[in-house]
């Protein structure tokens, strides 16, 4: 028995890696067979962006675009050239799945480092590993799993630096912050907050030269991602704030869709939306454990709670604070059934963002006590919590419900027939279509991206909007969709003079150049 114990103790990281990998792969196989890997509209957009770097009328890194941060797309580049990897979504699933495994491992390491107790670390790792919503998000080509991963690893090294003061930990913490900030805009909040925390630490250490150097060193690296993205915007789009001004940016899109999002200009509601979102994605019982853990942590550290060494763990709540702010300002909405008053795009919209609080929840729910009996009770609560959340029932996975809702909206219904029709009737020539509203169609038809004239194809796009017949043989657009840049900007007169409607699905028009049949 002792030998078995010793074996598990010596090989804990390896065993955890294998278990997390099994969960990750199992989840992937399940959702792959269910055909849900690219259920999210955004996932198709991510795949197409990466694909256009290597397969476009004007290929190159500029195709990475200016509104979605580029980390996921860059990580897809080694495999996206392959048609199967692109169309199946596997190209994006792989980085997400690797990120999931790393999150589990580093959460284990982090909590073990904090609590010096392996069972606490196992509890924390389980909170991550058993979350059905994260298990779904880690198989889709989206940014959630990567973000949870990068902030967890950041926290591990940052916390370790505070304890041991090794430069390499500080550099690695800053490096993972770069990755966070190149993945989600919530990461930008974390970059700023961690620098502010260091400034506080500097003040608490009588403005020592050493901490001054640390702040410069840390901030120089951690702000690099933000700086690079602004520079990218300035160089490629001549606007460092392109990500805000782009027609496809979240802020612009929400203003197009509906101005009555929940929580706009109401900080209380904006906060509650996020709290409900956490309850839906992680479970109320788990949130309760987290709150209890936080209170116990506060009581334990009472006298020194405001010391930077203790405040550091609170940094993990910054992404949620960032989301409260974006809900409040109406930039990025989150909708929950308890508070939502609007029907489109529906309840649970963007609810997946609440998963960014999972590392915070995992830490505080696992460090409540080191007494084994209490830990067993906590672990049982976590299992009950996740069972109630229903990780094995599709219909109860709210992030999937969010994706399902998007499948049912007008655009998706149009795609169901349009994809099949276009696959069988496309006979060559360039296609004028907007990426903002037709990413799914571009992906699912399997036609090489180099045959599409889209927003990132420079003169082809600009001139085709003036006169579609200049380059295009086909034009596809939704004639009632304000997000569709072709519908919005094309010269309709020349379009209808030179093209005829060959197929129509709801409001999606497929037009072909007259005389090319």
């Amino acid at each position: 028995m002792d030998k078995i114990k010793q074996f598990f103790s010596d090989h804990d990281i390896l065993i955890l890696t294998l278990v997390a990998s099994a969960f990750s792969i199992g989840s992937f196989l399940y959702y792959y067979h269910a055909g849900l890997i690219t259920a999210y509209g955004d996932s198709r957009g991510h795949l197409d962006i990466a694909r256009r770097v290597v397969d476009s009328l004007t290929p190159g890194v500029a195709q990475l675009g200016g509104y979605w941060l580029p980390l996921l797309h860059i990580l897809m580049l080694p495999t996206i050239w392959n048609n199967f990897m692109w169309q199946s979504g596997l190209s994006g699933s792989i980085p997400s799945m690797v990120a999931f495994v790393l999150t589990v491992v580093f959460m284990y390491k982090l909590v073990f480092y904090i609590a010096k107790d392996k069972f606490s670390a196992v509890i924390a790792a389980s909170v991550i590993m058993l979350n059905a919503n994260l298990l779904y998000m880690q198989v889709v080509p989206m940014t959630e799993s990567l973000f949870v991963c990068t902030i967890t690893i950041f926290m591990y090294f940052f916390y370790k630096w505070f304890q041991e003061k090794n430069i390499s930990d500080l550099i690695l913490a800053a490096f993972f912050l770069i990755l966070s900030s190149l993945n989600r805009y919530e990461g930008w909040g974390l970059v700023i907050a961690s620098s502010v925390l260091l400034v506080l630490y500097w003040a608490q250490n009588k403005f020592s030269k050493k901490i001054e150097g640390v702040i410069i060193m840390f901030s120089t690296l951690s702000f690099l991602g933000i700086f690079m993205w602004l520079l990218w915007g300035a160089v490629i789009f001549h606007d460092p704030l392109e990500f805000m001004h782009n027609a496809l940016s979240a802020g612009n899109q929400t203003s197009i869709v509906d101005a009555n999002w929940t929580g706009v200009n109401n900080i209380g509601k904006a906060t509650m939306v996020n709290v409900y979102a956490i309850i839906h994605t992680s479970g109320g019982l788990l949130l309760g454990l987290c709150v209890l853990g936080f209170i116990i942590f506060f009581i334990r550290k009472k006298k020194h709670f405001l010391k930077s060494e203790n405040l550091i763990l609170l940094l993990l709540i910054v992404p949620m604070l960032f989301d409260i702010l974006t809900v409040y300002t109406g930039k990025v909405p989150i909708e929950v059934p308890e508070l939502s008053k609007i029907s489109f795009p529906g309840n649970y919209f963007n609810i997946r963002y609440a998963l960014y609080s999972l590392p915070f929840i995992a830490i505080f729910s696992s460090i409540i006590s080191k007494k084994r009996i209490v830990q067993v009770v906590i672990f049982s609560f976590i299992l009950i919590n996740y069972s109630l959340l229903g990780f094995c029932k599709n219909s109860n996975i709210v992030v999937l419900t969010g994706a399902g809702i998007s499948l049912k909206d007008g655009r998706e219904q149009a795609y169901e027939g349009a994809v099949d029709w276009f696959k069988h009737n496309y006979d060559g020539g360039l296609v004028l279509a907007s990426t903002g509203s037709n990413d799914g169609l571009m992906l699912e038809t399997g036609i090489d991206q180099k045959f599409f004239i889209t927003e990132g194809t420079y003169k082809y796009w600009d001139e085709s909007l003036k006169d579609p017949s200049e380059y295009a043989t086909w034009v596809i657009f939704s004639n009632n969709n304000p997000r569709d840049a072709v519908n919005k900007n094309v010269n309709k007169k020349t379009l209808f003079e030179n093209f005829e409607i060959v197929e129509k699905y709801n409001n999606l028009l497929i037009m072909k150049k007259i005389g090319t049949n």
């Binding site: 430069i167 001054e212 150097g213 640390v214 410069i216």
Partner: protein
């Protein structure tokens, strides 16, 4: 008018009252000696050891006090086949330019970009290695305490001095504080025969008994390595080390170095290099940046290089040897103006290793731009000489296929110098492209096909950032936290390096063996900065 000048004798030389130094041999009529026109080594059988030995070259007799074969010396800057290669390359570039200027420029830019790109990752790799696997030998105080002074051997300290007598008192104090039995110290002040003022001042000082003054006979080349070779011929110690006159080594450095050799099971380690930094780092911005550079070099790059057993260019001082090993290596090349770098490479090529150990020597960072420029251009010229010397027979690097020294040598010595020439060129192209996009942009853009553009842009943005950041890490590792903020000025420092590189290139062609003397002692009187 035949005013009689008072004179007094010092060793074999005569110092006149007006400080001219005359050696009796100078007064003798020059005897006609048959000197070989061919480049060849010679031995002076009338002297003991390597004293008086040297090289005949172009009909001139050069006394180097070393048996280093002329093939391993920088006495010839370019060998015939190197001249041919350079000529062929020039013809290819000019011919290519005439045939198709754009394509030729694309090839050149591609080559430079790839090299720059490789250098970035090589340095990153070294820095990661230096964190992961620090091979710096650690000697603990407990081990030092166990040493019995009675069993310690004699240690020779070489201190070459030239027209810098002002720093002798500081050096004497530093050496007298060293933790080593004084009766087992053999400190040699290596003075040049044509430097009567230093000789006079040194004689006048009340030097400790374990100091001795050795006067290096006048003759060309007049370089530090030649003086050190002369000292090596007269060394009494079992171990030997070089310190510059302005150096302040850690008090226990000799014992640590001794233990490094004692502890090493690997007989292949024949040189122990202490780390260098500056005691006047905070004197001005230049010394701050210089100090940051040293921190990066000694605390990160060299330890990283050691971990991959790459050739290590030694620092100019504080390299410790067993004297017998140093003699086996034939000492230093007096024609190479960075004889330390050359010796480091030679050590690796001969199948031996250098190790870094946990001791520091504090030096004086030159605090004046002109002085810095002289020193730096000499260093860069020396790196070029070293590169040319060791690339005469590149196959000599290929003895150990597990450790491809030929590649690391290209990056460490060749790439380091080349990047100083590339840097301003790339910056200029970038500035021109963005500032005159409408007019010059269309001319520049075709020179960067997609892949090259990505490599070049990556190198420009991330490369420059990473290099700046490496300096910060260096400062942090050395705990020089207050210097970190000055690292943002490093690009200016690089620009100065590029200027020095061009000066070095000019000197390499026209004055290859000229030793630009770095003046020391500017920190004296500014102790508050130290």
């Amino acid at each position: 008018m035949n005013k009689k000048i008072k004179e007094k004798r010092i060793d074999s030389a005569i110092i006149m009252e007006d400080n001219r130094l005359i050696r009796p041999s100078f007064l003798e009529k020059k005897k006609k000696v048959k000197v070989s026109k061919k480049t060849t080594n010679f031995i002076d059988n009338s002297q003991v050891g390597m004293v008086g030995n040297g090289i005949y070259h172009k009909g001139v007799k050069y006394i180097t006090h070393s048996d280093l074969h002329h093939k391993h010396s920088a006495i010839k800057t370019f060998h015939a086949h190197q001249k041919v290669i350079i000529l062929v390359l020039l013809i290819l570039v000019i011919g290519g330019g005439i045939a198709n200027l754009q394509e030729t420029l694309i090839v050149i830019i591609a080559g430079l970009s790839v090299l720059y790109f490789s250098d970035i990752f090589f340095n990153l790799f070294l820095i990661i290695r230096s964190f992961q696997k620090s091979e710096e030998v650690q000697i603990r105080q407990a081990e030092i305490k166990k040493l019995d002074d009675a069993n310690l051997p004699v240690y020779t300290i070489f201190c070459p001095l030239y027209k810098e007598w002002q720093v002798i008192p500081q050096f004497t104090r530093a050496i007298s504080k060293l933790d080593w039995p004084k009766d087992k110290l053999d400190v040699q002040l290596l003075l040049e025969e044509n430097d009567p003022e230093t000789i006079k001042e040194a004689r006048r000082m009340d030097l400790p008994s374990y100091f001795r003054i050795l006067i290096v006979p006048h003759g060309h080349p007049k370089t530090k390595p030649k003086a050190c070779n002369y000292g090596l011929c007269h060394a009494k110690g079992e171990y030997a080390v070089i310190f510059d006159a302005e150096d302040i080594p850690d008090l226990d450095q000799l014992k640590k170095a001794y233990l490094v050799f004692k502890k090493q099971k690997n007989e292949k380690i024949i040189c122990a290099q202490a780390k260098l930094n500056f005691y006047n780092a905070r004197q001005n911005i230049l010394t701050r940046l210089f100090s940051a550079e040293y921190a990066l070099w000694f605390d990160l790059i060299l330890t990283g290089m050691q971990s991959i057993k790459s050739p290590i260019p030694l620092g100019g001082t504080s390299n410790h040897f067993r004297t017998k090993d140093l003699r086996m290596l034939n000492g230093w090349d007096p024609f190479n103006v960075t004889e330390d770098c050359d010796l480091g490479i030679r050590i690796t090529k001969m199948g031996y290793h250098t190790t870094i150990f946990n001791s520091n020597t504090m030096e004086e960072a030159t605090s004046k731009v002109g002085n810095w420029m002289r020193q730096r251009s000499r260093w860069i010229k020396g790196y070029m000489q070293t590169y040319l010397v060791h690339m005469r027979h590149p196959h000599e690097f290929l003895t150990d296929f597990k450790n491809p020294h030929i590649i690391t040598f290209q990056l460490v010595v060749g790439g380091k110098v080349l990047s100083m020439f590339i840097n301003p060129l790339m910056w200029l192209i970038t500035i021109l492209y963005f500032s005159m996009r409408a007019t010059i942009g269309p001319l520049i853009k075709p020179l960067f096909p997609d892949v090259i553009l990505y490599i070049a842009v990556f190198s420009l943005v991330f490369g420059n950032f990473l290099y700046v950041y490496y300096y910060m890490i260096g400062c942090a590792k050395r705990e020089q936290w207050d210097l970190i903020k000055y690292v943002f000025l490093v690009p200016v420092y690089w620009l100065m390096m590029s200027v020095a590189a061009w000066k070095a290139l000019w000197q390499l062609i026209f004055k290859p063996h000229y030793w630009e003397k770095t003046v020391h002692g500017f920190h004296l009187g500014k102790e508050k900065n130290i």
